[in-house]
């Protein structure tokens, strides 16, 4: 234990020393993301799926689409539910059991990025108003952690949705019945892209690794849509940002997001 604590400490000092020269420990520029690979269709039994690697952070997302009852007072909309889980095999510190506050925050931030950008036109997913709608369940499982789970899960969820096919249901006797072999594309309106940044001292870095997260003062995740608007935001971490830093972060999120959006939209 002791030796690993010392190594952690040395790593932190190195990260801070390099940052003071405008450099990062893995050679990236401050506003560079790690290499991002996206593979879709990895779970053929799901209606949509994607496996994302963002550096060494790895996520699989599966989309399940099935008829459901609408939420009360939302009878004119389909259901969208996004969850996230850090599998215990992903991280020596992850533990089986009910999700802790970090995992709940992760799932809710991924969910809001998709919901608040209005990526899916949920009004097109109604089978019988107030009684039966299509439910879209977007479940993300983190397979390996190396920082920035927010973006990795978000990209995997968006990719899985973009690549999914929606089964067709007919109404018989007031109940939905699957029409075999007929599917359609999901009703996509925009492509949300989240970009997570860390503040370490006065430096804003994009896509922090686990080592960088261990040094960060504060974190921010900003999700933008295809029109260049800002649609969802979550600040984290125990310290704060100045207003100038927050404006800079929004600019970074837009410019980095544009590149990622192109990569995601190739999946459609």
């Amino acid at each position: 234990m002791t030796s690993s604590v010392i190594i952690e400490q040395l790593k932190r000092e190195k990260i801070l020393e390099l940052l003071s020269q405008g450099k990062r420990i893995d050679g990236r520029e401050l506003h560079d993301q790690r290499s991002l690979s996206i593979e879709t269709g990895v779970i053929p039994k799901a209606n949509g799926s994607a496996r994302v690697k963002l550096g060494d952070t790895e996520v699989v997302t599966g989309v399940k689409i099935q008829p459901d009852k609408p939420f009360p007072d939302l009878g004119d909309k389909g259901i969208l539910i996004c969850t996230a889980e850090i599998l215990p095999l992903a991280d020596p510190k992850a533990e089986p059991g009910p999700p802790g506050e970090e995992v709940i925050e992760l799932a809710r931030v991924v969910d809001r990025g998709i919901r608040e950008t209005e990526m899916l036109d949920l009004k097109q997913l109604v089978l019988i108003k107030d009684k039966s709608v299509i439910g879209i369940f977007v479940d993300s499982s983190v397979l390996n952690t190396d920082g920035n789970l927010f973006d990795a899960c978000s990209y995997a969820a968006v990719a899985a949705i973009l690549s999914c096919t929606v089964p067709k249901y007919e109404i018989k006797d007031d109940a939905p019945v699957l029409v075999e072999g007929v599917t359609s594309k999901p009703p996509i309106k925009t492509t949300p892209v989240s970009v997570t940044m860390a503040r370490i001292g006065d430096h804003i870095i994009v896509d922090p690794t686990a080592d960088e997260e261990a040094c960060m003062n504060a974190r921010i995740t900003i999700t933008t849509n295809s029109d260049g608007n800002i649609c969802a935001l979550q600040k984290g971490g125990s310290d704060g940002f100045t207003i100038e830093q927050l404006i800079k972060c929004s600019e970074i999120a837009l410019s980095v997001g544009t590149k990622i959006r192109k990569q995601l939209e190739q999946l459609m």
Partner: protein
Amino acid sequence: MTQLMNENGIRCDGRRIDQIRNVSIKVGVLKNADGSAYIEFGKNKILAGVFGPRDVHPKHMADQDSGILRCRYHMSPFSVTERKNPAPSRREIEISKVIKEALQSAVILKDFPRTVVDVFIEILQADGGSRCAALDAASVALVDAGIPMRDMVSACAAGKVADKIVLDVNDEEDKEGQADMPVAYMPNLGKITLMQLDGILTPDEYKKCLETAIGGCKQVYEIQKKALMEKYFKNGEA
């Protein structure tokens, strides 16, 4: 559907776009807590109670080098229109976390190793902006408990309603408006320690919204100070 703003720029509750709702804070309202505050922020009615520094249970959560901060944001079953199940929802767990993080850099717990400061927040009646109002009360309750602090934390939301950037979004505006951005701010250190956004803003609107929210935080800060004065320096005298 409510009309959220009339032709004169007056909002559904009669406010101007740059006006916060009525806010009143009372300090030291709970006998058993080490510090406490009660806030009414619009229709929000919120209690915050602070205990500690005190021993940590379970012990493995303790930090050998510092005190730790814990937060619970909880809604009473009768606080919202539809009765709420008393068990904590995922939303309440997330808000507890962001409130804790918003307070964390304000409190100085280095001198209290192996202890915890617990901040318990009860939403007796919820309106728009309950997490900001909760933070405002919690921050005052921490001062009332005598916890050393670098700065106050003052919180207020801004948002986009009827295509305008407005200060301090209420319940109807939150539900039918276009964007809601809760912000917490340390007024002397100039740092934003909580920020979230739901809704769609252009980059220009984003900037304006952020500035508007910080303006609200500064107004709240004055109310927080006044409330503390009332308890600790009766009639404004030192």
